[in-house]
Symmetry: none
Subunit: 525 residues, 2 copies
């Protein structure tokens, strides 16, 4: 038996995030992933009020979940009726899910202002709804909405609502900070007081409006809560829900709370990326534990510290949550960063102090004029190889020309011509594009594709422009970052120039050189 | 006197975030903004070890800050020397900043493993460095690096390090959770213990690796810390620093701590967006307090609840932090915004509901394809005038052409030709530039300057490019924002296109039209 149960509401509260909308198929995929990851409860949606969710529960009933219990969500019954006659209640009972979570008001202010019903009736609604679902054989949770605000305003009434749920036979009382406005010390003292008087186990459901959702969840657990509600990546309405990707490792690794096995925990980073992928959101690189930068080291001192002893600058070993350490090259970096980065790339610089100093000097000069290698590992590797004399260019540029015309009929035409030398051959190609860089990219590919068919698999996936020293207007220096992928590996390259086309060209050349270089290495392996 | 002092390290620790790199000009702008917002201390960088930062301190010394004290950051002196002989120490003392913050080791493990020096020598380094800077007349802070990890491992030694700083005459001891691995209950108990034995006031410097940086900061303040370190938007290495955009309103609005006036607090959202703009990062819509979605209501119940009574679903009034409530999928707010904006420009739309609806529709369509009028008031005004039939174009474009050539000798040539009609005359001009947009800008000015000599006073001051939908690589849609000034007034214009030159052209045309329009208005006044 776990000390604390993990309750995921990504499919319900998480989907309330602006811009997120999961298809039925997405939801089933996420459910399976959450199950295999090791969540104890997965809340799937509202079978009683949302037809799309009803369909989901029908499909989910056919899945054989190994670990998680599926939860159907809904409100307490309507006022002045009975749960047995309430359509939504019946749908909850019939959803096929073994667990139901019903939300009800715990703040008298809301009962009066939003529901506009008698305070007693709200209490009856809670007890009646719980009792009905228990009779139907379900495990039942009561989500006490606005519990903390309610308790601060009128503790007696707030307690009456959860006691009514207990009276109805509820299995869990979940204290919700619905507006997310409560701070950890308040959560701690309120959960402590409630826990003392309650026989039913407590859960915590926190929102992040004060940037304290994770801390609020941990505080509640320390005061006796035995279930934590949250979402993967903290997705949710407004500022989001408690982020399970942080709550889980905090509990398991820092507080020694039994809630997941060490083995399952290594799937955390994968889970986070999987869900962001299906939500069509970029993963947050800076997200604790699972972000790409969570264990990235940039500063020179830090990087040299890390190389000496991991514990010096890492609060946990990244492997514990399935993440990895990364050394970043930046203007703050010193020799040790570059040595480490070179080692990562299979280049031994440790025993070549002269070369190391030379590379460091070159990087600092380039950084001074606006280069930045953090997101340009491809250009960084090429720079090192050039300095070491191990770089072999795949082509030599003779010249390029871009012509862009906006004609009288309003149509825009862009055309690029490149003249390059590959081996002993001079190649000329012209291509149109929907912009100068796009046209150049196409032209160079046309020129090279016959000699390097592997280019077909190499695709630009991202193009970023940053104008440096912006006060110079259009005469300012432009930095272009290009991200390229061959479907397996992704690399970044950079170009800097007063001329945006020239900057783009530099980044483009590195992007292609790097891609072909690694294709060749693979072929030799 | 404030209860708690706000210490911003966006320019130092914030800039350690992967991908962030502020230019000298950016840094000065941010410093000014932080000062006028109401930070008590602003840490500017490392004058002793980074030439770019040294330049910053020289320029910053000339600014007259109204509220903030500028802080120079550095390490304690090197081992086995004296502070007075240490180059970095001297640079700190000479930086011109009235405050120095020096970081030193508080964890014995680090002293042994990273510094590889005697434990006693580290203690001497701290005391000596502090004393030296105090003698030079500076206010001095000691950043006790890894204090919490150190205290857990060897409390006696950790305390010895900060006592050495006190012995040296330090003004503040800042307890740092450098690896970000400490949880709020640990921070609370350690700060409590340290605070009992220390006469020097304490600060807290938290990192977000457990997603608890804000909560850790609040916990420390509850236990007696009187200074909070953090960054705007929580930018920082790995998972970032304590986010001052959350810490400040949590302290001021929730804990009733005196740290900022109510009036200044309303500048918080603006500050957050300003810094993200200069960092060239998209603002996080879901960020607590300042995010675009922080007070957005999506679900039907919530939205109707909010319309009944703000308090039902909002933990604070958004105006307190300069944010606004947003009901998602609502045209009402749109109409009133536009009416207001039109009124600002002297255009009466209130009594023209048809025109208003038409403009609203057009704006929504433009926003859908990537336009954004927040920073493009010039284009917005022209759009309204076009819709109302009151816009008179100063010229008509027949065609333009840009040729860019990179020649065999490596030289780059860019040339633009425009053909335009002004009055009844057809004008053709060609100009070179250091990029396609610069060349176009010059050509159009050459063509028009005889008819509109006022153009001479109109100058492009800022040029920003953002690639939308980046995953499409170089075929993605590009948004160009241009800022123009005539020395008195400044206006923004926008262009969006798959072709960066076309997008730039749009923004360029609006920029010139707007400038001439206002010159004409002035002449008529």
């Amino acid at each position: 038996m776990a000390d604390v149960y993990l309750y995921d509401t990504t499919l319900r509260d998480g989907a309330a995030r602006e811009g997120v909308s999961f298809s039925l198929d997405d939801k089933l995929k996420i459910l399976r992933h959450l199950d295999s990851f090791g969540m104890h409860y997965v809340e799937g949606g509202y079978p009683g009020s949302n037809p799309k969710d009803l369909e989901f529960f029908q499909a989910a009933a056919k899945l054989e979940l190994k670990h998680a219990k599926l939860v159907a969500f809904g409100s307490t019954r309507k006022a002045l009726t009975s749960a047995a006659r309430d359509k939504e209640m019946k749908a909850l009972a019939a959803s096929g899910a073994p667990v139901a979570c019903i939300v009800g008001k715990a703040w008298d202010f809301h009962v009066k202002k939003a529901l506009k019903i008698a305070l007693d009736e709200n209490v009856y609604m809670i007890e009646d709804s719980v009792r009905y679902l228990k009779k139907k054989g379900l495990e039942v949770l009561f989500d006490a909405e606005h519990f903390f605000d309610g308790y601060k305003d009128n503790p007696k009434y707030a307690l009456r609502t959860i006691e009514a749920a207990a009276e109805g036979g509820v299995d869990w009382v979940v204290l919700c900070d619905t507006n997310g406005g409560t701070l950890p010390h308040e959560v701690a003292s309120i959960v402590r007081e409630v826990h003392e008087g309650m026989a039913v186990p407590l859960g915590i459901h926190a929102h992040n409006d004060c940037e304290c959702a994770v801390a609020n969840t941990l505080a509640a657990v320390r005061e006796g809560a035995r279930m934590v509600h949250g979402t993967v990546n903290g997705y949710g309405e407004r500022c989001g829900n408690a982020n399970l990707c942080s709550v889980i490792p905090d509990l398991a690794l820092k507080m020694d709370v039994d809630c997941i096995s060490r083995e399952r925990l290594t799937g955390l980073t994968d889970l986070a990326h999987f869900v962001s992928e299906l939500a069509n959101l970029s993963p947050d690189a800076h997200q604790p534990f699972v972000g790409m930068s969570a264990f990235a080291h940039k500063g020179g001192i830090h990087a040299s510290g890390v190389s000496k002893e991991t514990r010096t600058y890492e609060h946990i070993r990244p492997e514990l949550v399935g993440n990895i350490q990364r050394i970043v090259v930046s203007e703050l970096s010193g020799k040790s960063t570059i040595t480490l980065k070179a080692k990562e790339l299979g280049i031994d610089l440790q025993h070549k102090p002269d070369k190391l100093a030379e590379i460091l000097k070159e990087i600092k000069q380039l950084e001074h004029v606006g280069y930045q290698f953090e997101a340009a590992d491809g250009s960084f590797e090429i720079l090192m190889r050039k300095s070491l004399g191990t770089h072999k260019a795949f082509f030599r540029l003779e010249s390029f020309r871009v012509i862009m015309e906006k004609r009288e009929d309003g149509k825009v035409m862009t055309e690029a011509t490149v003249k390059i030398h590959v081996g002993g051959r001079r190649l000329i190609a012209t291509a149109e594009g929907n912009g100068p860089v796009n046209a150049l990219d196409r032209a160079i590919r046309i020129a090279m594709e016959r000699s390097f068919p592997a280019l077909k698999d190499i695709e630009l996936t991202d193009y970023k422009v940053r104008v440096l020293d912006e006060k110079k207007g259009t005469a300012a220096v432009t930095r272009v970052l290009i991200e390229t992928s061959d479907g397996e590996k992704t690399w970044g390259t950079i170009g800097v120039s007063e001329n945006i086309i020239q900057a783009s060209w530099e980044a483009l050349v590195d992007s292609i050189e790097f891609g072909l270089m690694h294709k060749r290495q693979q072929a030799h392996e």
